[in-house]
Amino acid sequence: MTQTAGKILERLDELPSLPAVYHRVRETLEDPEGSLESVAAIIETDPALTARLLRVANSALYGLAAKVDNVLRALTIIGATETHHLVLATTLISVFRDLPLGPVSMRSFWEHSIACGIAARVIARVGGRASPDHAYLAGLLHDLGRLPLFILEPHLMSAALQAHRDRQGHLHRLELQFFGSSHADIGAAMLRDWKIPEVFCEAAEHHHRAAIEQSVGAETAITHVADLIVNSLRIGTSGTRWTPVLDDQAWHAVGLEAGQLPAVVETTIATTRDVTSAFLEH
């Protein structure tokens, strides 16, 4: 069956790519001459993006003290790094939002991803081992490789899901059996193709085997733990049905104690619904 996997990695160009506006924002942010004013001007050329971005900026994700209705003000408050992450998340979710996924709903997929981002951010804040902004984006992007599996191979993926439901194994292992590579490899390949910073590619690639790769950053360990928590709480789903195995080294790397879990769980539950609506609803 391994030829299917080769096929999937070769067929990634059948999926939508990030829109030009994302790349223009990114270039401007990386340009020493660039400014948040010019980034705001680029965003405002796209009314749909402008509306969506303001909605997300005003969601529970950022907890701003007052409602912001001006792009530049929003970007100034959240800062340049978060501006990049916000535009990436907003454009990425928008291009995939209306595609049929087959066995899981797109909303459910993004709800899982957003919950994982939010949990990762709280873990980073409480544990103090990584930047909360980076942890959030790593969590949000970790299962991206599931999208091509659902979209390009819905029947084979349904069979893999059924085997997982029947508890024949963890879904990423079954993907290896059915496709020859897992969503982790595929997601990392997509992110590298889009020139997303390496730390996020690594988190997507290794979130199921955080300890094997000794060189990976804290973001990978945090993503591993956040994914496990969100799967246990069953907030949305990207297909995984059963709680995965916790990697003990990853758990130590995030700097949390078991007694700090309620803070992560409560915050994730309290904010995910609002943030998911902000990203997805018309």
Partner: protein, 125 residues
Amino acid sequence: MSRDAPLDRSGLTEPAPPLKENRMRVEDMAPGMHLAKDIYDPNGNVLMRSGAEITERLIKALRSWGISEVAIKTAADEDPGMIRDPKAVAEIRALLDQQFSLSNRDHPMIQALYDLCLDRALGKR
């Protein structure tokens, strides 16, 4: 929302989390109710402790913190959503045991997470 769906034993399409809790959206809250759980800000810091009385001021504050829903208990009933029927409790435990069956249950973090999921499924504060 999927979170409020009843327990699902078979469906492939949507998750049906094993929770039963007296969660309420901020716009549906009224003064005189009491918080059933601590409230955290988006950074995980405690903002309000469990048991605090809901006031108009607190509702405003929750909105400004971007918090859309919280667990509440009513003043009249200590723990309205709590499941105590031994048969129902055993059923929820069995579902959770299955949920965690491929995980490493002997790890202290997984044990703590299991207990949190159980408390939520039982509607306990």
